[in-house]
Symmetry: C2
Subunit: 358 residues, 2 copies
Amino acid sequence: MGRPTIADIARRAGVSKGAVSFALNGRPGVSEATRARIFQVAEEMNWRPHSAARALGGARADAVGLVIARPARTIGVEPFFSQLLSGLQAVLSAHSVALHLMVVEDTAAEIEVYRRWTSEHRVDGFIVVDLQLRDPRLAVLDALGLPAVVLGGPGKGAGPLRIWADDREAMLSIVDYLAAIGHRRIAHLAGLPHFQHTQRRIRALRDASRRLGLEEALSVPTDFSDAEGAAATRTLLSRPRRPTAIVYDSDVMAVAGLGVAGEMGVAVPGELSIVSFDDSVLARIVHPPLTALSRDTFALGEQVARSLLAVIDDAGPDRDLQMPTPRLTVRESTSPPAGGSPAGVNSTGTVDSASEPV
Amino acid sequence: MGRPTIADIARRAGVSKGAVSFALNGRPGVSEATRARIFQVAEEMNWRPHSAARALGGARADAVGLVIARPARTIGVEPFFSQLLSGLQAVLSAHSVALHLMVVEDTAAEIEVYRRWTSEHRVDGFIVVDLQLRDPRLAVLDALGLPAVVLGGPGKGAGPLRIWADDREAMLSIVDYLAAIGHRRIAHLAGLPHFQHTQRRIRALRDASRRLGLEEALSVPTDFSDAEGAAATRTLLSRPRRPTAIVYDSDVMAVAGLGVAGEMGVAVPGELSIVSFDDSVLARIVHPPLTALSRDTFALGEQVARSLLAVIDDAGPDRDLQMPTPRLTVRESTSPPAGGSPAGVNSTGTVDSASEPV
DNA sequence: CTGTCTTACTAAACCGGTCTAGCTGTTGCA
DNA sequence: TGCAACAGCTAGACCGGTTTAGTAAGACAG
């Protein structure tokens, strides 16, 4: 005989299929005594529900989908995704919900997968990452009518639930720190310009620069790749008046930048301070270890999973959620600039109003 | 009305459900004219099969499973998995087969997932990674009776299909190269000792050392983490007579080792040559870029997916498969040892029999 | 012209669950 | 005592496909 079905259990327990279904799903309609007996028989026969059969009755697929749009061969080191995955799994597997993962080439393909999985009833909901400006995926997901949780935001009005960390505050904390130790010329190697968080970071830097009266605060967009990170760094460091600090939007780029500095004989942190917007093993293992923004990506994954399951369960009015603002972990890649001004004193030698004279 | 079902199509095309099923699945039993008409109606109504309904009839789940046993929070940078995933997806998605991914804590949990997914009919087969010595998972998979492809091998006799690259040859090529440029004291920071490939590499180093008459060739097992990689490197470099070259089993450890060298003031490659057994962005972006063994992990993923689909389809006697031996990519982290012997001349100053006197 | 074989199709069973309608026996209350 | 309410259960429809058994019509051989 193949695997046992509820019919087998029903026969052996001397009840009907329906009673077995009620009992095993913890719903009323059977006495405690019968329920216990059915549980015991199910245990004995080592019964497990057939996921397809369950999903057929219009019920759950007990799976959620995650589609990542990245050119297949260039999926990088980004520890972000592995961390996120771990966090997601921690929660999902506790609820016996599987994760359907797919890596596709571009947003168009991603949308196609959303459509297919929806019409095939493969998943109960989606996790959306890499939120873009005027993101075309949101309308599609809305039309498909499946629950979704979006990483990034906040959004205005309707649309799927969003979860995000405050990129603006994070960038401000970096710039404040750099300015406090005396940096006046700061560059920022940003990510893809059509990502929302990229824009938010760029704006934050500009605002902070204005407020602090920095001499220079330049954001350079890149594609997040090590190659562009290295190239842009080389360009910046070749200028006659180069920045004394560079903020990188990803740790891969930061490490690449560190490599370029080494190659050009620019001492880190002596002549150049480096800050990574992303903390991971990568930032810790290089020499010098990088000052970086630490966020708990694992916890983010857990939260996303929890929220998605809640939305699927129609559990209450879970509104957009903000994660704790990432905190700056200072390591050895940052120091006051060589020959620079001490904290509180700007490049012209005048004292900032807010600070104590030293 | 909800999504269209084959019953809707049948009604509109004026045929029976059975005819529609035959037509859409390309099996005989309908005329070409009818088939075309059915296809057109299905197209018009934008019909997609309900994966659960299909899976219910004892048929395919159209999904394969990949379970990775790693402590959730410590999933590292390992680009290996992202690359492998990309390769897998490239093939799987072309066949509309989904990938069920799960990250678990340990082998016991992994086995539990195999059992659950099997009895829930969630997947048609498994991809098994991190092959161990006397691997307990093989017996379980065999008992479950689901197709599987194992990364690592070769295996003797029965069991699931295996796919592997020749770790022995790879290690030999590294040692031969290092010896050729004059290194006589080589250390090897190995991975987890219960992994098969770890043992194979350790043995290869020992054999090569004997053959080449090296002064020292030490393998140190680690847990693949950056922390142990750094610690072991520190120990090695603190010894009075330290190795002139270190081979790292993963690029994360290699980069960590590079960091330690920098911190201890040991010049790379001047005083220490570093080779990584794994090539990725990581190896390229540090300074100096690392000499590393390049293997096409993406292609490996593709091959694994192709083989698994073939096994699932019962397609022929696909036997164990060997991938091309990885080739050494020489970058700037290796050079002849400081004060060492030139190629072909051993430490006692005598000339190797096989080489031309310089 | 009959009998057999093939082709093209239909009707209905089936997969393994969920869920609703209905049936029975007991209890509560007027 | 009589009736309603309810707990505890059963029978069977149902989800959307696949697959098998059966049928009607046409082709072909003898």
